[in-house]
């Protein structure tokens, strides 16, 4: 970790005594503190990195790094930590690849302010969420969509889906895996659904 320790100075690298997390605590922390930031993180990465095909890798790297650091010491402020890590990753990439992105790496503190504001009425969220997920289902290829609806909405097992659709179980697996990815992306995209423009 020597090469990276100074990247996290102030959070994970500080001298404060933070709690070491076990695997299930880490998973909980990641799900409740980090993943809800995904929409803002993606926005940050897309805004500050020219090559959009790198975004998935960058996001993964941010997640891996914050989790490794958090395992050793739980950060006090997950949001600040995630964005500082993202910024450092971008800076290191720029240095290593000798490329300069068009826009300089933005001020981390300016981001995500809106996330602290109280959320709108829960029922509104629920309705929007449903609408957004429906829109994602609509964009899936026909057979994939059918498999996902039978599995997620109707609660059928893979085997039942295969016999219902008259296709092989391995094909069902592929449809389900693709559908799960699309739904999860949409779920975390939180209203800023970038695939809509593609």
């Amino acid at each position: 970790m020597t090469g990276r320790s100074e990247d996290h100075r102030g959070d994970a690298g500080g001298r404060r005594l933070g709690a070491v997390m076990n695997a299930s605590e880490l998973r909980e922390w990641f799900a409740h503190e980090v993943l809800p930031l995904e929409a803002a993180l993606m926005q940050f990465l897309q805004h500050n990195w020219r090559n959009q095909s790198d975004i998935a890798d960058l996001r993964q790297e941010v997640y891996v790094r914050v989790c490794e650091a958090a395992r050793a010491e739980r950060p006090e402020n997950a949001k600040a930590f995630v964005f500082r890590t993202a910024r450092n990753i971008l800076i290191n990439r720029v240095r290593r690849e000798h490329v300069v992105p068009i826009e300089a790496v933005a001020d981390v503190d300016a981001l995500g302010v809106a996330m602290d504001a109280p959320g709108p009425d829960r029922t509104v969220i629920a309705r929007d969420e449903l609408r957004r997920l429906q829109a994602v289902l609509d964009r899936l290829p026909d057979r994939c969509r059918e498999a996902v609806i039978l599995g997620r909405v109707e609660g059928l097992s893979g085997r039942e889906i295969a016999s219902r659709m008259g296709i092989t179980e391995s094909t069902v697996s592929i449809h389900l895996a693709n559908g799960v990815r699309a739904l999860v992306d949409a779920f975390f995209a939180n209203g800023t659904d970038r695939r809509g423009k593609a």
Binding site: T2, G3, R4, R27, E28, F30, A31, H32, L35, D54, A56, D57, R59, Q60, E61, Y63, V64, R65, C67, E68, I89, N92, R93, R96, R122, T123, A126, L130, L133, Q134, L137, D138, R145, E146, I149, L150, G151, R152, V153, E154, G155, L156, S157, G158, R159, I161, R164, E169, V172, S173, L176, A177, N178, V180, R181, L183, V184, D185, F187, F188
Partner: protein
């Protein structure tokens, strides 16, 4: 963790591949037969690198989050007919329209249903719990000092929770809604496990699986029906209803009584005493307001007030005083 490397960067281009692999593991675990061996293999894969773990955790958490999609399934219907080759949306709309008609007919038929289903009453005393298995495959666990009545009819299954707390595990039956009545409130199961606790002034409902719908049945306190999904807790009194989300651990803690335990997590002594007093004739008394505010963690047998009092004494440096059947905790 070698995946990160000394350079501080992951190899480019592998996030997509790892996510595809994670998605395959996830769908196998979620939709297919899953054995101990499968779990061991998955665990080994997750342990290989943090990148594997985060990809899998992310899919798992995100997919849980799409639970909302089950709202598209109409409760009055089971699975749709095996013909969804066309666009699925018109099918859902038609299903919904048909459901409205069916439920209207259902309500009409209900009124003339003969003979009325037999109502059975169940009750538990203080400190007792009881599990009842219903003829339809559902089960109800009654917590301490609880009274309820059950009627399983051909068209509807009804439970009146007159007092206390119960945990419901409902065998879903699209033809027979499972309804829990709590005073003027109606809770309709939409395929689920849930907890209902009736207090003096408020009702608390916690959903540990599936969905339920909460409605008012009287005009004066009317509020819009609320649909609750897994992990949500609603507290309703005469004036308002509040929906909160609880972590799976918190929900599990609240259900500790099913195993005869109370789970405290930064719980104040006054709240802990109130909990113990639901289960025991001999009461736990805390008169000192400052002592009442001290907090305690731990899992205790709900019938062992003595052990709890000793823990409070040892951990918090307090004094125990026995007053007849009651126990007083003081400074």
């Amino acid at each position: 963790m070698s995946a990160v490397g000394e350079e501080g960067a992951l190899p480019l281009g592998d996030a997509n591949e790892i996510e595809a692999e994670a998605a395959d593991w996830f769908q196998r675990r979620r939709f297919w037969h899953w054995s101990e061996e499968d779990q061991i293999r998955l665990d080994a894969w997750l342990d290989q690198s943090m990148a594997h773990s985060v990809a899998y955790w992310r899919l798992d958490a995100g997919f849980e989050g799409t639970e909302r999609l089950t709202a598209l399934r109409h409760p009055h219907f089971g699975t749709p007919n095996p013909a969804p080759k066309r666009n699925w949306r018109p099918i859902l709309f038609r299903t919904a329209a048909a459901a409205l008609v069916v439920s209207a007919i259902g309500a009409f038929a209900l009124r003339y249903e003969t003979p009325p289903p037999v109502e059975k009453a169940y009750a538990t005393g203080i400190g007792r719990t009881e599990r009842i298995a219903l003829s339809d495959g559902s089960s109800i666990e009654l917590n301490t000092n609880t009274k309820l009545r059950v009627s399983i009819g051909r068209k509807q299954r009804r439970v009146f929770l007159d007092r206390g707390e119960a945990y419901f595990q409902v065998a879903h039956d699209a033809q027979r809604p499972f309804v829990v009545m709590v005073g003027k409130r109606r809770i309709t199961d939409l395929g689920t496990k849930f907890l209902v606790r009736r207090g003096a002034e408020q009702v608390e409902i916690a959903v540990s699986q599936g969905r339920v719908r909460l409605e008012a049945t009287n005009e004066s306190h009317a509020f819009a029906p609320v649909e609750l999904i897994k992990g949500e807790v609603v507290v309703a009194n005469d004036k308002q209803i509040v929906v909160k989300t609880k972590t799976p651990k918190k929900l599990a803690d609240e259900l500790g009584w099913r195993h005869g335990v109370l789970v405290f997590d930064h719980t104040s002594l006054s709240d802990a005493a109130r909990e113990f007093n639901r289960y025991n004739e001999g009461k736990l008394i805390i008169e000192d307001p400052q002592v009442a505010q001290l907090t305690i963690d731990g899992t205790f047998r709900s019938n062992n007030v003595g052990l709890f009092a000793r823990a409070a004494k040892d951990l918090l440096g307090l004094r125990i005083e026995v007053r007849g059947a009651d126990t007083v905790i003081a400074r």
